[in-house]
């Protein structure tokens, strides 16, 4: 079981959280000009790295807030977590 550092509640057991997948996805702005491929990219294509991964988690059985985590997908090590829309969000 992962120990996940909620930015508000501190380290808590994974079973208190639900995983929200890749972080920093924003809905495409102009729908009319959007190609099918771009729309598919937004809906279905996700980063799936073997290594460090930025993802979002929901502390659903705790403070009920969403936040971001950077976790390694082989070792499961978590090296940071931060509130959404804060300065740590990377846009790569």
């Amino acid at each position: 079981m992962l120990l996940i550092p909620c930015p508000w509640c501190g380290l808590r057991a994974e079973s208190e959280f639900s995983s929200g997948g890749e972080a920093n996805i924003s809905r495409p702005y102009v729908n009319n000009d959007l190609s099918d491929n771009d729309w598919a990219d937004y809906l279905f294509y996700r980063k799936n790295p073997k290594g460090w991964h930025q993802e979002q988690w929901h502390h659903v059985k705790g403070c009920r807030r969403w936040f971001n985590v950077e976790r390694h997908t082989v070792t499961h090590e978590i090296r940071k977590s931060w509130p959404m829309n804060s300065s740590s969000d990377s846009n790569d």
């Binding site: 992962l2 996700r46 073997k50 997908t73 499961h76």
Partner: protein, 416 residues
């Protein structure tokens, strides 16, 4: 290669089994091939076998980074069935089941197919209605499927708890009598042996690290054992599909997650079907050695480590005890995980990639063992004819842009 037969078994018994030849020959890679299959799991080996057998292609290599069948093929709970909801899936999975029915004979290798029946349970009125709807649409596709009352389920599984005082009482279910289990290793070994006999080079400990690409076309692969050229490369690497796609410069609508399973200590035979419950999430069968084999859902997060979180195991055991309270003191012997390649619509991707000469067969996720022969057959056709097999056509990568998804989430109430 010696045929496996009663006569040869008798002869070998007479000389203490000293004369059996190796089942497939291990080879060093040549510098080029007509077709390279990346990934020596069941699907890759089946593809190579049908390329050689049906399409008479002679220079084929299967490149496997570890040992054959060491991926999800050797890690799954071996449930086979074809009772899928949508026409596209029903046709593909039933084609595969029919190939399974003749496979031991075709490969001259006993894959220990046991069509003992697969039962899906319903625990709520809504689930019962859903199962009725599914049984009807499955039957319209000519696939066997029946509704069961709780008493009929008890007939198949005498130790099941039918009390209506529990949290999720059993209201009924469905059965596919032709469903069952097979020996997973035997499927990999049988395909490897039969392919090797037809001249396919099976090359273990050979990891593909990149691709030779020019003008949007693939001409070969870079491996830890050197460059190997080919103008047709099939990618059949399950959980690592995304890693290799990235090396080739494109993305896939796939996320890789751990799926765990476990076996218990051996018990006397008491349970002769496969039982699946989506609500009380677990699926169970009893192996020939008497162990209970259990599996459930994937872990929620992406991962490439072949183990997941403990609470998933705890939940599947709790579910088993809900169905069979008599198992409460059962001991677990082993647990393990595999990395499954999950598509947003829980259906596979079979066909062209964004690069010419590179073909995809991935996204089988939590349920591809049952599709092994069918997947290999239609993928071999797709590679040989450079045109999707009719059964594979709906499963193209393009469906994610066109919107023609094949939504098999909860195909029969659970992931498998």
């Amino acid at each position: 290669m010696t045929r496996y037969s009663a006569l040869n078994l008798l002869r070998e018994a007479g000389r203490l089994h000293s004369g059996w030849p190796e089942a497939w020959s291990s080879r060093d890679p040549k510098t080029s091939y007509d077709v390279i299959i990346v990934g020596g799991g069941g699907h890759g080996l089946a593809t190579a076998y049908y390329l050689a057998k049906v399409h008479k292609i002679s220079r084929i290599a299967v490149l496997e980074k570890g040992w054959i069948g060491g991926g999800n093929t050797g890690r799954n709970t071996t449930i086979i069935r074809s009772n899928y909801l949508w026409d596209e899936s029903a046709h593909l999975y039933d084609f595969s089941l029919r190939l399974y029915e003749g496979l031991s004979k075709d490969l001259n290798f006993n894959i220990m197919l046991s069509q003992r029946g697969v039962i899906n349970l319903a625990h709520t009125e809504n689930e019962m209605r859903e199962i009725q709807r599914r049984v009807n649409s499955i039957r319209l596709n000519g696939i066997d499927s029946e509704i069961l009352t709780p008493e009929e389920i008890k007939h198949f599984v005498p130790i099941i708890n039918l009390s209506n005082k529990c949290r999720y009482p059993i209201l009924g279910g469905s059965i596919q009598q032709r469903g069952g289990v097979a020996r997973h290793d035997a499927v990999a070994w049988g395909f490897a042996r039969a392919a090797s006999k037809l001249g396919v080079d099976i090359i273990e400990n050979c990891e593909v690290e990149g691709f030779l690409i020019s003008n949007g076309q693939v001409h070969g692969v870079n491996t830890n054992r050197g460059i190997i050229k080919s103008n047709k490369v099939g990618l059949v690497v399950s959980g690592h599909a995304g890693v290799l796609a990235e090396r080739a410069g494109f993305r896939l609508p796939i996320e890789s997650k751990p799926l765990q399973a476990l076996v218990s200590e051996p018990l006397k035979p008491f349970f002769n079907v496969v039982l699946m419950s989506g609500k009380v999430h677990v699926y169970l069968s009893q192996s020939d050695r008497g162990e209970l084999v259990m599996g459930a859902g994937t872990d929620s997060y992406n991962s490439y480590s072949q183990n997941g979180s403990f609470q998933v195991i705890e939940q599947m055991m709790a579910s088993s005890i809900e169905l069979f309270p008599v198992l409460s003191r059962l001991k677990v012997m082993r647990m393990w995980g595999g990395i499954v390649d999950v598509c947003p619509d829980a259906s596979p991707i079979i066909g062209f990639s964004p690069l010419k000469n590179l073909y995809l067969n991935c996204g089988w996720g939590t349920g591809g063992f049952k599709a092994t022969p069918g997947s290999g057959y239609v993928f071999a056709h797709t590679i040989a004819h450079e045109e999707p097999h009719d059964l594979a056509a709906p499963f193209s990568l393009k469906r994610f842009s066109s919107g023609a998804l094949i939504d098999e989430h909860g195909a029969a109430a659970v992931a498998h």
